[in-house]
Assembly symmetry: C2
Amino acid sequence: MARWQPDAPQRLALAALELFEERGYEQTSVIDIAERAGLTKSTFFRHFRDKREVLFGGETMSARVAGAITAAPATATALEAVAAALDAAGREAFTPDRRDFSLRRRAVIAAHPELQERDALKGLAITAAMTTALQQRGVPTLTASVTAQLAALAAAIAYGRWSDPANTDDYPTLARRALHEVRAAAVQDPR
Amino acid sequence: MARWQPDAPQRLALAALELFEERGYEQTSVIDIAERAGLTKSTFFRHFRDKREVLFGGETMSARVAGAITAAPATATALEAVAAALDAAGREAFTPDRRDFSLRRRAVIAAHPELQERDALKGLAITAAMTTALQQRGVPTLTASVTAQLAALAAAIAYGRWSDPANTDDYPTLARRALHEVRAAAVQDPR
């Protein structure tokens, strides 16, 4: 147990998901989660600051999308940079082998107000991280904010389609399509 | 104490704000808030479902903005309908006599992660309420979603400007200006 556990965050998240499904969020303790994962409570708190955080992977996603925006070619537009960010998010969380986990996670969040709140705050943090990363590329503040908002909306639409059982497209394809649609809707005269 | 208290929600919110400022959110109980307001715990729970909710006025704001969108003239565009929603929000919460309360409330929320989470979820609920109200006017789903997102961003920008001590414009004026700027930024080719 003392040795380094490289997959500890994933094991803890899966254990938490199972327990939240089985007995609910309130009835599950951090100790329960650590035990189910075969890890200790102190390992839990090395990776997550509280019980709510276990399904949200710490700051991983914000860092991932901001990193992708920063790494986009200097010639990329703001829209191209956020498209790269959605690709990166997809590679992180929305791969075929993560599909079952992702859908179960979404259902558990929807069933628990405490998790909905954390999810909402994480969403704002990701949008803020995209805005800041765009500004650091020299994108004007307002354009950065608007582009990040549209990207967040596109990500939500793409996720909805990706989680549809009938869907066969991968997440990056869906994300780019949604971004294109959202941009088109923003540009048209709104009636 | 048994008689009807029409201003109970406002009194409870102000009492909570004072206590959160004085001793912090964690160190304040619902009973403390009710006592400070000269009301009972059961009156508190008649208006708010938990301690977090006391600074968020129940579902008032979502209902208010959705109502304004529904009431906008049939000829109004989606953008004009959300402009009317921001006007209504301003009349509800961002009047000159509510300015001090509003700024103190914002500072207390920023200082408490629990309140930030509830605030984030409320923001999503308001955006969702605007989206639904637009759809009910016949606005296509994607346009409704995009317009509501842009309105939410404009509202945040307008609030920031309204709360600036140097500002002399009223909230509806600031909101319409921000909505115009956000829309212009969305339409331009994003570089």
